[in-house]
């Protein structure tokens, strides 16, 4: 027995390192989930992006909320016509391993992003449906050509993390090297990630000298850690934990919640039924109760800050009588409005999702619709949400939350509303045409075309039930001078943090 005890205490001591004390110039960020890997080409996943993007790895361009597309590693870019864009790289940029940034690194990063040895999130999410070819003009100039032409190629470049061409082309890296203001020091799996400031960064030296990331999945614990002074920033705390207006910031998080309706099965193939679904929801009642104050009622798939968002559309008002009238009219024409409609909800999709779905179900039941709620885990939900849909001939609505923080509807519209779109519940040739034209257009014309497309989806075909543009909460320690923004969902730039 004494032997056993001494062995146990030895184990205890072995795991003892100095307690975490919040030092000046160091910050601790508590994230809601562990990073499954730290590969820069997976940074389109928000949990990975928040650590890596613009801290360790940088991009050619950067989308700044309120200021539009800004230079980062590229100082300028110009449209050469024929789908070709010329990017001029910043001079004097080095990677944290000491090598200089040149055009070959961009080529390597683009190719690696579409590697056939592994599937990159960024590549799969943003770089599908067109081919990119590159042409190195000189060390600091590169031509990128896309086929078919992409008017938003510079915007796309804000998603591509640049790696040095010395990186492993065949496997994920576990010690990412980038041009950013911080070096990636250590990842103790399950415990923490540490970054520290570089002294040879090309830009302004950041105030924060080192950062530790830890992982807690319970929102109440993340909030408690900031309160107890163990952490400085807790992104993504739940509405009910955001109780202190001094430290808890709310901000639009670029997520839109909607009901995807399969427009091809009765009774959902009738536009009056879809209108009735829209009129029967008291969107307002959720805001400030189950959902946070500041949540906006939605009329489209992307957040209002997106180019081409139609600000003239107003949400469907809550009108139970109108809803019942529409259903009665549809029933009179022989539409089977009393058929059981399955409502698929995704478990753990956002805070309070189950309550939200229960409340929606009862609102629709109030209108006389026969709705049956089924909450499923992500793997099963995918089968309903993406084509080929599981239908068994049943009318089905799928609850989904869509994230578009990239400022352009092109990242949403084709997949959600094109006839060939992976999650599209509609097949409308006119809409296909509108999406294609808007995708190819530029400037003000592009904006106008997208606005028309939004209006058509909302007013004419009433494709889906748009619900809300969501807000997120981040708790920030009072010693920091930092305000979260719409980008905090996908990246968290340590260099923007100052101390009070």
């Amino acid at each position: 027995m004494p032997l056993k005890i001494s062995r146990i205490s030895a184990t205890l001591l072995a795991t003892t390192i100095a307690g975490q004390v919040l030092a000046q110039e160091s910050v601790t960020v508590v994230l809601s989930e562990e990073l499954e890997n730290v590969e820069p080409c997976m940074a389109a996943k928000s949990n990975i992006g928040r650590v890596i993007l613009q801290n360790v790895s940088e991009t050619l361009t950067e989308l700044v909320p309120g200021a539009g597309l800004q230079p980062r590693l590229a100082t300028s870019w110009e449209d050469m016509g024929g789908g070709t864009w010329r990017f001029t790289l910043r001079d004097g940029v080095t990677f944290s391993d000491g090598t200089a940034l040149d055009a070959a690194d961009i080529v390597f990063s683009l190719e690696r992003n579409k590697s056939d040895k592994f599937v990159c999130e960024t590549g799969a999410k943003y770089y599908g449906g067109f081919e990119l070819t590159t042409d190195i003009v000189d060390d600091l100039t590169i031509d990128i050509t896309s086929d078919p032409a992409q008017p938003i190629l510079p915007l796309l470049m804000s998603t591509l993390a640049v790696l040095p061409s010395e990186s492993n082309p065949d496997a994920f890296v576990d010690q990412p090297v980038g041009t950013g203001p911080y070096t990636f020091d250590e990842y103790a799996r399950g415990q923490y990630i540490k970054l520290s400031a570089r002294d040879d960064y090309w830009g302004d030296a950041p105030t924060v000298q080192d950062a530790t990331y830890v992982f807690r999945s319970e929102s109440a614990v993340r909030a408690a850690m900031v309160e107890a002074g163990e952490a400085d920033i807790a992104p993504n705390i739940a509405l009910q934990d955001a109780t202190n207006p001094e430290t808890d910031y709310s901000y639009p998080n670029s997520e839109t919640v909607y009901m995807r309706i399969d427009n091809s099965t009765a009774p959902l193939d009738d536009v009056r039924v879809r209108q009735a679904l829209n009129y029967a929801v008291d969107r307002e009642a959720f805001i400030g109760t189950i959902l946070a104050d500041g949540t906006l009622q939605a009329t489209g798939m992307t957040p209002p800050s997106t180019i081409g968002y139609n600000h003239d559309l107003s949400p469907y008002p809550y009108d139970l009588d109108k809803s019942k009238e529409l259903l009665a009219a549809a029933a009179a024409d022989g539409v089977p409005v009393d058929a059981e409609i399955t409502l698929i909800g995704r478990l753990e999709n956002f805070a309070n999702v189950t309550e939200t779905m229960e409340a929606l179900t009862s609102m629709w039941q109030e209108a006389g619709l026969n709705i049956k709620l089924q909450m499923v885990e992500t793997a099963e939900w995918n089968e309903y949400y993406s084509k080929p849909f599981v239908t068994d001939g049943r009318p089905i609505m799928v609850e989904a939350m869509h994230d578009n923080a990239n400022g352009d509807p092109v990242f949403s519209m084709f997949n959600k509303y094109g006839s060939e779109g992976v999650q599209s519940g509609v097949a409308d040739p006119k809409l296909d045409e509108m999406i294609a034209t808007a995708t190819a257009a530029t400037g003000d014309e592009r904006q106008g075309l997208w606005e028309e497309t939004f209006a058509y989806v909302f007013n004419d075909i009433v494709a889906d039930v748009f619900l809300w543009h969501m807000v997120g909460f981040t708790r920030v320690n009072e010693r920091l001078d930092f305000e979260p923004s719409i980008k905090t969902n996908s990246e968290l730039q340590l260099s923007q943090i100052e101390f009070k």
Partner: protein, 304 residues
């Protein structure tokens, strides 16, 4: 004893292989992981490439033979999600879990046996009532209650211990405290019940009648007799800790094997699921062998 161990090792190895086969095929019934790994907008081309890279296009039986031939060389494959060898991920987490389980169960065993025996000594007495009440409430209260209330009280308000995480000895206090409660409540009850029977049994009475007035001796004799069900239940509770203490791991950010296993099941990261089950199964099998040996040590009449 030697022949017992030999036979037992063979039988355990066979059931381990059975377990691996069972888990391999059953877990594959839970769907294709492709959609879980790729963004919802990914093209068919990316999906096909993903399946090709991870060998998901092969017939199941071919995948199985690939898996088994790797396994013979102790290669459990790569985790799709974590991009590292599955066994590395599992062993790293299991070391934490094992420490947690050993410390917790040692504390539980010691304290529950003492408290349960004392309660049994005066059945229906004041001490017995209090011990029974507390242990039952502990054993049936939701563990996350205790965990979150403990964080709010001891970390946020009192500031005695860190809220969560790892690093110092202090970090272990809350997770162990929370994990301690349920097995403790259960085992106190089992010890108490078992001791009541043992203390009223014929031979203890005989001993008393013969004039053995020494309480400790009576106690030790009765305890020895009462231990069989106690050890079994301790084993059962230890096994559930070895399988991972999910609530504690989730709330305290403790890097154990339970959350790893759950995430891997939900993400269909089969290599990790298999490795995790393999490692925990070995631990549980070994523990059960030790328990069976302990039966024979405690009660020499038991033969296998």
């Amino acid at each position: 004893m030697k022949s017992f161990l030999g036979k037992r090792a063979i039988a355990s190895a066979i059931s381990l292989i059975g377990l691996i086969i069972l888990v391999f095929f059953l877990s594959r019934l839970t769907g294709d992981p492709t959609n879980l790994y790729l963004p919802v907008d990914a093209s068919q081309e990316s999906r096909d490439r993903f399946r090709e890279i991870h060998g998901l296009n092969d017939p199941l039986i071919v995948q199985f033979f690939h898996y088994m031939s790797d396994l013979v060389q102790f290669d459990f494959g790569m985790s799709i999600r974590r991009a590292e060898p599955a066994l590395d991920a599992v062993l790293r987490a299991f070391v934490w879990t094992l420490q947690l389980a050993i410390i917790t169960m040692t504390l539980v065993t010691g304290s529950a046996i003492v408290l349960g025996s004392l309660a049994a000594y005066h059945v229906g007495g004041f001490f017995d009532r209090i011990a029974t009440f507390c242990s039952l409430i502990g054993a049936s209260a939701p563990d996350f209650w205790i965990a979150i209330v403990a964080i709010v009280v001891f970390s946020v308000h009192l500031g005695w211990v860190p809220t969560s995480g790892t690093g110092t000895v202090l970090h272990w206090i809350l997770p162990i405290g929370v994990l301690f409660i349920r097995p403790f409540g259960l085992i106190v009850q089992v010890v108490r019940g078992s001791m009541i029977t043992a203390l009223s049994s014929a031979y203890v009475k005989t001993a008393r009648a013969k004039g053995v007035r020494n309480r400790p001796i009576i106690f030790v004799h009765a305890l020895r007799n009462a231990m069989l069900p106690v050890i079994t239940v301790i084993g059962d509770q230890a096994a559930s800790l070895l399988n991972g203490a999910v609530v504690v791991e989730t709330i305290f950010g403790f890097p154990g094997v339970g959350k790893l296993m759950i995430d891997s099941i939900l993400q269909r990261d089969f290599a990790v699921v298999m490795a995790a089950i393999f490692v925990t199964a070995v631990a549980i099998f070994v523990m059960n062998i030790l328990i069976d040996i302990l039966y024979a040590v405690l009660d020499p009449r038991i033969r296998y």
